[in-house]
Amino acid sequence: MAEPLSITPDFVPVVPAERDDKALHRVIFIVLALAICVAPAFIYPVFLMKVLCFALFASAFNLLFGYAGLLSFGHAAFFGLASYVSAYTAKFWGITPELAILAGTAAGALLGLAFGAIAIRRQGIYFAMITLALAQMVYFFSVQRPDFTNGEDGIQAVPRGHLFGLFDLSNDMTLYWTVAAIFMGAMLLIHRFVHSPYGQVLQAVRDNERRAVSLGYRAQRYKLMAFVMSAAIASLAGATKAIVFQVATLVDVHWSMSGEPILMALVGGVGTIFGPLVGAAVMTTLQNYLVSAGSWITVIQGVIFVLCVLTFRAGIVGTIADRLKRNL
Amino acid sequence: MAEAPAAAASAVQPVGPLLAVRGLNAWYGESHVLQGMDFDVAPGEVVTLLGRNGAGKTTTLRSIMGVMRKRAGSIVFADRQTIALPARTVARLGIGYVPEERGIFASLSVLENLHLPPVFSRSAMSDQEISDLFPNLRERLSSQGTRLSGGEQQMLAIARILRTGARFLLLDEPTEGLAPVIIEQIGRTIGLLKERGYTIVLVEQNFRFASTVADRHYVVEQGRVIDMIKNRDIAANLDKLQNYLGI
């Protein structure tokens, strides 16, 4: 790539590179938007929506793991709860889909606030174990409250409804544009957050918490904020998914669902903006091809986990970023 | 007084050095700490490595021992090239290591600390000999290792390696943070070990102490040996030495 054209003398070593990345990111976002516009001409839109929902879910996980260094093994709690709330309100309260999604997201974000306040009291592996245990509570709650979750069957035949009461979402393409808009909005929000001063402090806390604290930053507050943000986006993904696929089931809150975004982020590249999207696309495609393999899918996911950790820790986008010496 | 040990050392000189270090390099991550160390230690000698903080003395001992991950060059001990050997193999060649800050294990009792390293030579000191040499430890065997005073911990750290049968000792700042009377005691212990034919490499900041126990001094600066001073010549070289050490 060309050298940066404008150089601010005071910040020569840092700013040009940053600015360069920003320009690059802008290009990638534009290409991404174009790709999303063109994709339904070639690929089944329901599959694309699945990819987008899981990309959002994986991006939420990655926001916390990649940029705050906190490995959550409990994101199914937010994804699943939001899925239930959005399905329940859309079906039984008959509210419009955007409100149902909003309700799901709000519920998940609140749960994230509670769980986050507890989990950030520990770090590292303890944080992972705590989030897993907390999420299991939500799972047990879902099992024990069939009046809300409809037990083993889950909430089925959720109406897609009319967006703002106007646009009929039972039309796959209308729904697709809605999901695409939600996705792009959330991705831009994540990008904005990561590159904001808050995001920078968060990464400083990740790299050296003690030093960040000694510089006067209240590390716990930044972590909690990241946690809530991550939980909210995971919830947005879950709530949207419930409307798209018209179901919310126990699978959504089960711990194995917490493994999905981890694997997607790992495959795509932890700590990159676009990695989780790529990881979600790869893994969802793989799942689609392997649908006939039944429970072999779990084994294959496990093998990919092991291989990624052993030999491919940067992930797809991470590897490309290393080659280009850029942040992606 | 300084004459006698030097004479003893030269008496065994024809055998060749027990330890020969040539072009030793070592790195902590990206930082290149040792940049071509060269020195010899003859059998039965007490040699010190002197130098300022960060000169690479501790790293040298760690490299000889094999606990430095990234190192290159040549370390020949008892005619055997050890540069590529893991620490456990180096130890079994008969090298005993007392790390800086003594390395006493907090979760082990004094006795457990003492019995931790396996015995691998017939020349090992018996528990009785150890107990005679370090009478203070006798009463404290069941207390937690780190409950001992600094001096006792140092004694324990030395006792621990004598029990293995090592005849070549690497001591990293054995006097650090200790009271003068304890330092004197450690000096006597080192003298006693020398009498019994042990070979000792000592890292020291306290060159006054070093001059009471050592035959020769290597001056280390920026990861290299820049000078060697025999202990008997130390009075004549005092200015030079003080300049090196920045005292």
């Binding site: 245990a133 052993l310 | 790390p99």
Partner: protein, 296 residues
């Protein structure tokens, strides 16, 4: 004679307390193994539940395909699964030794998925039955409760295993070497001890302990692929509550939490599956480093 306590029949109470103690002894054995592995490898062994499952399946397969009875299974299953653990350590974990601890968690999570998936493929998701050994199939009426012999045996043997483990670690040379290696592996290596081999053996032993628990569990819980994963999540909470600093701490925490769970089943059954998680939250509020943990 007093036959009920605040409206609860003594029989039911004692029965639930026994069940709680038995669950607690499984928590104790599994959290003990996790703590031992963590102490030396700095890895949270996410495959621990799957290795417990392997123990149960090994016993079931031994019985079904080779006629190996319970008593031999108790010996052979931990041995076989422990050796698989040794292979896992030598082939996989050794490669990530210098990476941050979270990678160990991710790698062993992958292993857990593989093991669990394989069992589901070959044996299905529904439970398999493993009979209680004939010698222990009856029970004794203690007056205030009926004590099935197999349950008494499980309780006895798991406590014995915990005590033996404690003894090995706190009172033997192998144990002091292990503790020293937890503190400063490089120095232990510099004393001529083969630390990599110690790490391998430790992982193998921790895995064997999980498998042993699996064999004990086979006759009481149904043998199914998911059994370890569900249990492991509770054990994680137990570990967070107890902290991983002390062996006796892990054992006591495990047993007590099992009892609390049993009591909850009597007085407020709806909360029994989550009570341990609630306790975890409380402990995190009051003493985040855990009851027996050291502040880091």
């Amino acid at each position: 004679m007093l036959t009920d306590l605040i409206g609860i029949p003594i029989q039911a109470l004692a029965g639930q307390l026994l069940l709680g103690l038995i669950n607690g002894s499984f928590y104790a054995m599994l959290s003990l193994g996790l703590a031992i592995i963590f102490g030396l490898l700095h890895i949270i062994n996410f495959a621990h539940g799957a290795q417990y499952t392997m123990g149960a399946f090994a016993a079931w397969m031994g019985m079904t395909y080779a006629g190996i009875d319970y008593w031999w299974a108790l010996l052979l299953a931990p041995l076989v699964v422990g050796l698989i653990g040794v292979a896992i350590e030598r082939l996989l974990l050794v490669r990530i030794r210098n990476l941050p601890a979270l990678y160990g968690l991710l790698l062993t999570f992958g292993l857990a998925l593989i093991i669990q998936g394989l069992f589901r493929n070959y044996f299905g998701a529904s439970g398999l039955r493993y009979p209680i050994p004939a010698a222990l199939s009856s029970g004794t009426n203690l007056g205030f409760m009926f004590l099935p012999h197999y349950r008494a045996w499980v309780l006895f043997v798991s406590l014995a295993v915990c005590l033996v483990t404690w003894f090995l670690i706190e009172r033997t040379t192998i144990g002091s070497t292990l503790r020293a290696a937890q503190e400063n592996p490089n120095l232990v290596e510099a004393f001529g001890i083969n630390v990599p081999r110690l790490i391998t053996i430790t992982y193998g032993a921790g895995v064997a302990l999980a498998a042993f628990a699996g064999v004990l569990a086979a006759p009481i819980y149904s043998v199914q692929p998911q059994m370890g994963a569900d249990l492991l999540i509770v054990v994680f909470a137990v570990v967070v509550i107890g902290g991983m600093g002390s062996i006796l701490g892990s054992v006591v925490t495990g047993l007590c939490l099992g009892l609390v769970e049993g009591l909850t089943k009597v007085f407020y059954p709806e909360a029994s599956s989550v009570v341990i998680f609630f306790i975890m939250i409380l402990v995190l509020m009051v003493k985040p480093e855990g009851l027996f943990g050291r502040a880091s």
